[in-house]
Subunit: 401 residues, 2 copies
C-alpha cells in the first residue's frame, strides 16, 4: 500500500537522525557502562518536591487550562528576578520568554533570526542540537575552534575583518557540550564588542552555568551587550520532564518568537510551568538542591578525570571538568576513536566519538564522555574498560600487519 502514498516535501531530502541518537540505541545494553549519553541523573532530580508542587498547582483550575504563549506570568516573574541577579541589570518580564526546553528556543530563533543562506558561526566541536536547526533554516555554517578559553576570538576577528557578516554567533559559554571548556571573561567581552561593532546576534546557550564545581561561572556574555540572546533551562538543575527552558532577549525578538510559538504549539504546559515557578522561586530549597547536584557531579567528574589521567598518562589529554556534564578528551597516540568504538562496546563501555560533533575539524582522535549518571567506581571501571579496548584495537592492528 505504501507505494501509493503521496510524496513528502522535497526539502526533507538529506535530513537525517543525529549520529548520537543512533549510537545511543546501540549502547542501551545493561552490561555497558555508557559515557555516551547526555542525560542528567534522574536519581538526583527532586521527584518528591515536584509531586508536592504538582499537587498544590492542581488545586487551581488555571493549572489545567491553556496558558499564555510567552509562558505563565508568575514563572516569567521568577525567571526575570533570577536573570536580573545573574546579569546585574533589571530584566523586564517582557524580555523573558518560556520555551519548551532550550531546544525550542533554538528552533524558533532560527526562524526569527535567519534567512536562507546567511552565515552562522558556531564552535568546533559543535553542539549538535543547534547545528541541526541552523542547517534546517538553510544557514551557511562556519565553525571556529576553541582552546582552553573557549571560541578563538582572533579567528572570529579575522573572519569579520575579511568581510564575512554573520547573522548569528552561537556559543555554549559555560562547560561546553561537547568541548568541556568555559569561555573566559576576556573572550566574553571581546565577543560582545565584536557583536556590537559588526551588528550580529549572539545566542548564549547556557544550560550548564549553574553546575559549576569549584567556582561560579564567569558573568554571562549577555552582561556586556544588548544583542546577546541568553538561553537557559530547568532541565539540568531540576528535571527535563518540566520541558521548561527560557530566553532572555530584547522585546522585539520575544514578540517575534511569540508569533511563531502560537503556530508551533500554542503554549506550554500550565502545570509544569507552575511546578517550575514553585521550585525556582523557593530559593533556600533551590540553593540546597543545586549544591547537592553540584557536589555529586563534581565527585563523579573528579573520578573520571582522575582515572583517565592515571590510566592513560601522556597518551591522552582531557579537559578539567570544572562543571557541567562532559569531559572532552584527545588521544595523543594516534588512537582512532571511530574504529575504537566497536572494541569499547565489546569491552563494555560506550562514549561518543569526536567526529559526531565535527563541522570542519574531523576529530578522529577525540571523544566525549558524560560523567553524570555513573557512580565514581563505575566511572573508574569504565576507564579500565576503555584502556582494554585501546589495547584490543592495538592488537587487532598488529594482527592485521
Amino acid at each position: 500500500m505504501s507505494q501509493h502514498l503521496p510524496p513528502l516535501a522535497g526539502r526533507l531530502t538529506g535530513l537525517t537522525s543525529s549520529a548520537i541518537r543512533d549510537l545511543l540505541k546501540l549502547t542501551a545494553r545493561a552490561e555497558i557502562i555508557s559515557l555516551a549519553g547526555g542525560l542528567p541523573d534522574a536519581a538526583l532530580m527532586p521527584g518528591e518536591r515536584i509531586a508536592v508542587a504538582a499537587d498544590a498547582a492542581l488545586r487551581q483550575d488555571a493549572a489545567l487550562q491553556y496558558t499564555e504563549s510567552p509562558g505563565w506570568g508568575p514563572l516569567r516573574a521568577v525567571l526575570a528576578e533570577r536573570e536580573s541577579a545573574r546579569l546585574g541589570r533589571a530584566v523586564p518580564v517582557d524580555e523573558v520568554f518560556v520555551t519548551h526546553g532550550s531546544q525550542q528556543a533554538l528552533s524558533l530563533l532560527s526562524e526569527v533570526l535567519l534567512d536562507p543562506g546567511v552565515l552562522v558561526v558556531v564552535e568546533d566541536p559543535a553542539y549538535v542540537g543547534a547545528l541541526q536547526v541552523f542547517r534546517a533554516a538553510g544557514a551557511r555554517i562556519v565553525a571556529l575552534p576553541m582552546d582552553g578559553e573557549g571560541m578563538r576570538m582572533d579567528l572570529l576577528g579575522e573572519l569579520l575583518a575579511g568581510g564575512e557578516r554573520p547573522a548569528v554567533v552561537h556559543t555554549v559559554s559555560n562547560f561546553h557540550n561537547p568541548g568541556g571548556v568555559t569561555m573566559s571573561p576576556a573572550r566574553r567581552q571581546e565577543l560582545a564588542a565584536l557583536a556590537q561593532r559588526y551588528g550580529f546576534w549572539v545566542i548564549e546557550d547556557d544550560p550548564y552555568g549553574e553546575l559549576w564545581f569549584d567556582r561560579p561561572a564567569p558573568a554571562p556574555v549577555a552582561t556586556y551587550a544588548p544583542n546577546v540572546i541568553r538561553l537557559s533551562s530547568a532541565s539540568k538543575i531540576l528535571a527535563p520532564t518540566l520541558r521548561v527552558g527560557w530566553m532572555v532577549a530584547p522585546n522585539a525578538v520575544c514578540r517575534a518568537v511569540e508569533l511563531l510559538k502560537q503556530g508551533a504549539d500554542l503554549c506550554g504546559s500550565a502545570l509544569t510551568q507552575q511546578i517550575a515557578a514553585d521550585l525556582l522561586g523557593d530559593t533556600d530549597w533551590l540553593t540546597t538542591h543545586i549544591d547537592t547536584v553540584r557536589a555529586a557531579y563534581a565527585e563523579r567528574a573528579g573520578a573520571l578525570v582522575g582515572a583517565l589521567r592515571e590510566r592513560f598518562g601522556s597518551r591522552l589529554t582531557c579537559t578539567d571538568a570544572a562543571g557541567g556534564m562532559f569531559v572532552w578528551a584527545d588521544f595523543t597516540d594516534g588512537t582512532d576513536t571511530g574504529t575504537l568504538l566497536a572494541h569499547a562496546l565489546d569491552a563494555g563501555v560506550a562514549y561518543v566519538p569526536g567526529q559526531a560533533f565535527s563541522v570542519s575539524t574531523p576529530y578522529p582522535h577525540s571523544l566525549r564522555m558524560c560523567f553524570t549518571t555513573g557512580a565514581p567506581d563505575a566511572l573508574a571501571e569504565a576507564v579500565d574498560r576503555l584502556d582494554r579496548a585501546v589495547a584490543a584495537q592495538g592488537q587487532g592492528a598488529v594482527a592485521q600487519r
Copy 2:
C-alpha cells in the same frame, strides 16, 4: 538602544498575530459574557484525577527524565488501542506519534508535506490555527465552502478536474471550528476516494469528535484511505495543560515528523504523557468522565441555540450544535457582525466576527459563538445582550441618516 540591534529575518515580514487573540484581550473584562473564546471549561476538567496520576507517575525516575521523541511508549500503546477501535483496523504503535497538542502536529506536518508554492485546500470558514502554519510554509491556499454536510466535494472535484493538484486537503471533520458542521459519511467516502485517485494527503483534524451530544460522530475519513493523517488531542476531553495531541499516520510520515520533532523541542513531557496514559487507559473512568463533559456541553449548546432561535427568529440562522464547542450563525437581515462587535461589547457580550475565519468568503453577517464556558442562564443572558446590541446598532444607523 533598540535601534542598534541587529535585524530579524526578512521572512517574518507580514506575519501577524491572529485577530482572534487580539480580540480576546479586549473581551477579558469581568462584566462581559464572552462567547468569543475557544477554551474548554476548566471546571469540568479532572484536576483531582490528574493529581492522583501525577503522584503515581512521580514515584518513578522515568517520569522526571527526557522521554522518546515519538512519545512515551505506554501512552502510544494506549492511543493505538483507542484509535484501532475508532478506525476499525489494527493501528501499529509505530504509526502513532504524540505531539505537543494538535497544533504541533499541524506545524511539523506542514514542514513534512509542503514545499513552498504547493496548493493546500482548507474549509471556508477555516480553522485559523491550520491556516497560520500552512501560510508560514509558503503554501497557496484555496478555501472551499461547507454546507450542512461539510466541505463541498463537488467543488473539490471541479478543482481537481480543472487540473489543480493539492498536496494536502485539511478538514476539521467533526463539529467544525468555527463552522459547527460535521462532514457526512458520504462526503467522507468521496474525499477519501478523491485523495486516492489524485494522490494527495488528507489531514483529518479531529479534536472534538468525542464531544458528540445525541449520537456518535461518523466513522473517520481515515477509515476509508491510507493517505489520511488523523489528528486528535487530550485537550478537549481531559485538559489542555497535558499538551498531549496525537497523530495516526503512515510510518514514513511519522519518521519524518520524528526527525523534525528532535530539532523542534527534542521530546514532550514524560510527566504529562504518563498522566495522559493513566487517564486514557482507565476506560471505565474515562467513559464516565467524557459522558459528564458531553452532558454539560449539550445542555449549554441547547440553551444557546434555543435562545438564539427564540430571540432572533428568522433574522438569524445557526447550526444545530450537535457536538463540539461552537455555534456558527448568520444574520439574514443584513446585520454586519464586524461593526456590531463594538455595540456587543458595550452591551456586555463578545463573539468572534465571521471575517476572522475568512479566506475567500468575507462572512460579514456571520459570527462564531463558543458555548463551553457559560452556564445555560448566562448563555441566555448573552443572547439578550446580543439582541440589545443589534437594536443599538440599528438605532445608530437610523441616527446617522
